[in-house]
């Protein structure tokens, strides 16, 4: 292939005019030839300013939930040697929820650059099943090392009007419960809190019904919807 026709192939791949076979061929060649990969990247950069001319759109409602569901079921590629923890991914994703779309792209970028492949597999999360007074499982609580806590309600609890679900934990078994936050929408949610020690096995988690806005005393006052002690998951 002449240099000139190679340049044309590169341009047509970047524009989207090349056939699938040509795209695959060029990708293979670029994978084996850093100089060619650099040419391909330069060609992409030439047209990249056009990406910025698209009108930015707001993220539709429910977008992150749908994405999160898909990541939960997404297959992890078998090849990489490192362990990718889905729970950690979900927690990460949830932290980003609500961030501007561009910021998410930037976060993805950071996740890439920060060396995804070098990342030490995260310590196992603590998982707690909360049971109600009848012994039925009402919620699943997954806590990351930094106390990002994902609460998945397993059934729709009856929350009287003027009441809200509040999530608590006892970092120190002998100490007072600490509020992790409110499930203001009455739905599954991920809560973040700073300044607590990493959750440990046997740590107590519970959800209580509190007056709207949360417990006025900052301690549980209402009936317990579900309570349980944390377990180290076997991963």
């Amino acid at each position: 292939m002449t240099e000139r026709s190679l340049d044309m192939l590169i341009d047509e791949v970047v524009l989207g005019l090349a056939s699938d076979a040509d795209c695959a061929r060029l990708e293979r060649m670029a994978a084996a030839d850093p100089a060619l990969a650099a040419r391909l990247e330069r060609a992409r950069q030439r047209f990249a300013p056009l990406d910025d001319t698209a009108t930015p759109l707001p993220v539709p409602e429910g977008f992150w939930d749908r994405l999160s569901d898909r990541l939960d079921t997404a297959q992890i590629p078998p090849a990489p040697a490192e362990v990718v923890d889905l729970g950690e991914m979900r927690a990460r994703l949830a932290r980003w929820r609500g961030a501007a779309f561009g910021a998410v792209a930037a976060s993805l970028l950071m996740a890439c650059i920060a060396g995804w492949s070098l990342m030490v597999p995260p310590a196992p999360l603590v998982v707690t099943v909360l049971l109600d007074a009848d012994g039925d499982a009402v919620a699943l609580v997954e806590s990351a090392r930094d106390n990002t806590t994902r609460i998945t309600l397993l059934e729709q609890p009856e929350v009287p009007s003027g009441r809200v679900m509040q999530v608590w934990t006892k970092p120190d078994d002998a100490g007072p419960p600490v509020s992790l936050g409110l499930l203001a929408d009455g739905r599954s949610e991920t809560l973040t809190i700073r300044g607590l020690t990493a959750p440990a096995s046997q740590q107590l988690y519970e959800i209580t019904l509190e007056p709207a806005g949360g417990s006025p005393t900052n301690l549980p006052t209402g009936p317990i919807l579900g309570v349980g002690r944390a377990n180290d998951p076997v991963i």
Partner: protein, 147 residues
Amino acid sequence: MLGVARRMLRRSDLAEDAVQDALVLIWRRAAQFDPGRGSARGWIYTILRNRCLTMLRQEAREVSTDAADLDTTPLPEVLAQAHGGLEDATGLRQCLDRLDAPTRDAILASYVMGHSHGEIAGRLDSPLGTVKARMRRGLIKLRECLS
């Protein structure tokens, strides 16, 4: 990302699918990303664009029932917006301005809207070979101008 996808797919529901597909792919392939080979932003947009192109080329496309999903902006307007959205000072803008209008529009239609040679030829009512040759000459000029 959504804006780029909707401009190509002309439907907001498909655009969301495309961005979701792309984000899942990005998660899965994060380990393959090599910062030494280019910017992450470029890598992310390449994955998104490829996903959109695949969706565009798929023959069987479910028909949207919701008119609100449709992007009905006329094609010349979409191209003019993309062209006009480029800052005057950028090399790409200056070099595109040196091309004749049909060639420039053909190149913009391929990158911005994912149109194939065949679609561009159909729209211009020109023979496929002529369109291909004209676009190739345009791309050579563009490359020389930008290098």
